[in-house]
Amino acid sequence: MPKTSAEVQGMGHSMKRKEDPRFLRGKGNYVDDVQLPGMLHMDIVRSPFAHAKIKSIKTEAALKVPGVLAVITGETLAKYNLHWMPTLMSDTQMVLPVEKVMYQSQEVAAVIATDRYAAADGVEAVEVEYDPLPVVIDPWEAIKPGAPVLRTDKKGKEDNKIFHWEVGDRSGTDKAFKDAEVTVKQDIYLPRIHVASIETCGCVADFDKVNGKLTVYMTTQAPHAIRTVFALVAGHVGLSEEKIRIIAPDIGGGFGGKVPVYPGYVIAVAASVVIGKPVKWVEDRMENLQADSFARDYHMTAELAAKKDGTITALRIKTLADHGYADAAANPSKFPAGLFSVCTGSYDVKKAFAEVDGVYTNKPPGGIAYRCSFRVTEAAHAIERITDVLAQELKMDPADLRMKNFIKKEQFPYKAALGWEYDSGDYHAALKKAMDKIGYAELRKEQAEKRARGELMGIGICSFTEIVGAGPSKHFDILGIKMFDSAEIRVHPTGKAIARFGTKSQGQGHETTYAQIVAEELGIPAAHVQVEEGDTDTAPYGLGTYASRSTPVAGAAGALAARKIREKAKKIAAHLLEASEEDLVWETGKFSVKGAPGRSKTIQEIAFAAYTNHPQGMEAGLEAISYYDPPNLTFPFGSYICVVDIDRGTGMVKIRRFVAVDDCGNIINPMIVDGQIHGGLTMGMAPALLEEITYDESGNIQGGSFMDYLVPTSMETPSWELDKTTTPSPHHPFGAKGVGESATVGAPPAIANAVVDALSHLGVKHIDIPITPEKVWKILKEKGVAE
């Protein structure tokens, strides 16, 4: 039950989203809605080759196209030393090439014109002569000795390796495997996919030559960090941080894809600085899919060691990570493989070892998340798939195997073998709830009957543990900036408030949930708490929204800033009530004198007094700011059960039922949490059944448009059934854990496990996602059961 009234709408109320009226009425303000006087338009010439020397770029014809004002090439940028830029992972990537292109669709030149159509006509007219080079697409080929070295720009580089990272007890794990009664091993590939947010990336760069101020309206999840990156990268050409203003207006989906700095942003900024007029660049859908940071592309080999009774004794995972031609992931600096080391999952695994090797290929750079916290999806998929492989090997029910190995409720806080301290959890309760809700025992009976009739039905379980809310400053930074986040609250004289945060909503509903946090802490109705984010000139510095960190980090800062305000409010109340502070008690929205309930002052009365009648010796006003450095990460979890039916004729997998029991700790807005899970499940179904980007041997992208990169719509989406358990985070100010990414992490293994389960009696142990109808049909045919 919520503690606050329906008027206050604090935590636990399903308040309708404050931002929705403007979205539903088409009144959102996205980057492409920004129109500035004299604004020019930019379009980009892209490479048809995956690896080629640039022999020449001829711009004469393009410059003759009516409306075209300039063509920017790598040579143009090289004059300012802006043709290369650093990635967030301390690698480098080209803004525009001067020598060679490294992947198909790489930016080659930019055309600036007076309207968008003229810019596109100009792009057609730019003539580029290429000399194709040998292409390396397969990462296994890339690591072989003698493979063509791709990063010839790096002096002395003799191979295509980027990094080797490992964690855990290698020798202890090896010994556990040697001593094991049972071991299983499975190659698992998580393919390259793309977040495909509905709004593509873009910006309007507006350099004011008179004041020397650069304003960039930009599709970014992390405006403050971007400002600092711009200041660091372009400091040498005179851009200093106080003269840079990044505005992230309404953002139509991020999912990790709007964390990196893309070449297009930098070119648009350079063009605006040189020309002195605003320059708009907005990608089209194909550019977005073909050139922006991809996710995943992890070639994993997972192994489990166990006793015959099913007790897991050790986990070992070796991974080859294809990063494309540059490591442009957006991980915390000390974590080249992100938080992959959460791969022991929900299980009490005593010995574990994981290693990841990063490698260059002729593909777009990246390695960002796809709505998950830094490689958690990869980790969850590995452990949840290999657990089912073990269950099959032991002929154990996968639910029983999980129940047997779960970390027990009383073991929390739990120190995992790979170093993390899990804050809280009750994994048995979540799985039990999911099994009861879906009717697990009956489903197994039905499955047995169907198998006898030759029908294919599968039940898949995934009991995932996430690791979100990066992160504690001891370990977590991006380019040295610690991963705290911030909130600043000002209470106005009439008792209303404005609250600004260092994060940036991309559709998550921060304007509502943050207001509810403030409402919970101060008793000011959430309807009267105006939330703002995304403008670096006004909001406090923060690291942004990704990796489910907004509620765990910035949300905590909001609560702490509100508590600082409450402290001051108490002093003002004591002054107004002529009582001592020790005699005051707080109940939502007011201070009362102990034992004299009639004597009280509401937060509104106190706010008014803060500006009209504040105590002598106290500063006027009622505001506070908090920078929150989380003491630990948070560990949301859940158990998902999926039931599939397989069409033996077409190989089509149909999700019949899907029960998702989530535990994200204390909930701010149940409706928004449900919405996050519904959307996340659909987005998790996507890579399980539909989405994949592949390349042919020449490096041509397959899956570069929405005709062949298959994102699900409501038509493909089954009816999700949700439930929850609530295990608060013990270290978070209001016990929340974060929820935005649980479903994308948990859904793919549940679906994959269900399909494999449907075919397990035929000897099928594993299928890589996406599980397409043809993949299934081939198996059915091979096993002689295709219709």
Binding site: D43, R116, Y117, A119, A120, D121, E124, D284, R285, M286, G649, T650, G651, M652, L690, T694, Q702, G703, F706, M707, D708, L710, V711, P712, T713, M715, E716, P773, E774, W777, K778, K781, A786, E787
Partner: protein, 290 residues
């Protein structure tokens, strides 16, 4: 995603439209519902210098019964066909096929005539109209002429119309008693075009034996194709499940199947048999009922 420059015309009469076409010849393209040509123009895969929009030309829409046939105006939208009570009664295969095209937005704009003239090798209408033995009426400066679907659609995205002709209507004979037809497809997950689509029309005789079978396949080859072996295999047989299955197994025979990222040639060949069997079963059930 930004088309090359072009001139736009919205003529008010068919004569005006025909005159524009003969004036601009091969540099001109006609648009009806704009669902196929406009995306190609945005990708600059099609760069017509002149675009002639037929939506202001009167009398190109609507469904009417005429001399034992249904005549559907070329600019009739998929949505209108989907919702037509007349068609539901007379030829339920048509609303059924219409309802599986794209999504409601596409169905509200896209037209049957546009789809046929565009001749996409994965479109639904070519298969359905072929199975139903439909014809199209084409207007030119010298008057009108009638074409079978197999004479209209000659290759991928290629029709046989002269540059100064316009498709104005589709004529579908209303089948008599003991006839049934059905359309089944495996839809492309993005576009809902057919990965494989099969339209089957069966005419039974008094004893319940197949007198005539017309089976048309879309998605498999470079254009809509009749599955002649299936038709032959069924003629003179009772449409029992075994006969339908055996016949359906021959659906892709004689068709050069294109493999792509949604399915290898082998998978699509198999899929065609599965889809054909399902279409035949429903067509047979309908024929028995009538």
């Amino acid at each position: 995603m930004y088309p090359a420059p072009f001139e736009y015309y919205a003529p008010n009469t068919i004569a005006e439209a025909l005159s524009l076409l003969s004036q601009h010849g091969a540099d001109a393209k006609v648009i009806a519902g704009s669902q196929s040509l406009v995306p190609l123009m945005k990708f600059r895969l099609a760069t017509p210098a002149h675009v002639i929009d037929l939506r202001k030309v009167p009398n190109l829409t609507g469904i009417r019964e005429e001399g034992g046939a249904l005549v559907i105006g070329a600019l009739t939208t998929h949505r209108t066909i989907e919702r037509s009570e007349t068609l539901r009664k007379k030829l339920p295969i048509l609303p059924e096929a219409a309802s599986a095209i794209g999504d409601p937005q596409v169905r509200n704009q896209g037209t049957i005539g546009g789809s046929l003239a565009h001749a996409d090798p994965s479109a639904d209408w070519p298969a359905v109209t072929t199975a139903l033995d439909a014809t199209v009426t084409v207007a030119g400066r010298g008057g009108e002429r009638t074409l079978k679907i197999s004479d209209l659609i000659v290759g991928p995205l290629t029709n046989s119309l002269n540059v100064d002709e316009i498709l104005v209507s589709v004529r579908i004979p209303i089948p008599g008693a003991k006839s049934g037809s059905a359309y089944e497809k495996e839809p492309h997950p993005a576009s809902r075009f057919a990965i494989v689509g099969v339209a089957a029309a069966l005419q039974l005789d008094g004893k319940g034996v197949v007198q005539q079978a017309r089976v048309a396949v879309t998605g498999l080859g470079s254009k809509v194709t009749r599955a002649g072996y299936v038709e032959q295999a069924l003629t003179g047989k009772a449409p029992d499940p075994a006969a339908l299955k055996a016949a359906a197994a021959r659906t892709a025979e004689g068709i050069e199947v294109r493999g792509d990222n949604l399915g290898s040639a082998a998978y699509k060949t198999h899929l065609a048999s599965v889809i054909a069997e399902r279409a035949l079963r429903r067509a047979a059930a309908r024929a028995v009922e009538r």
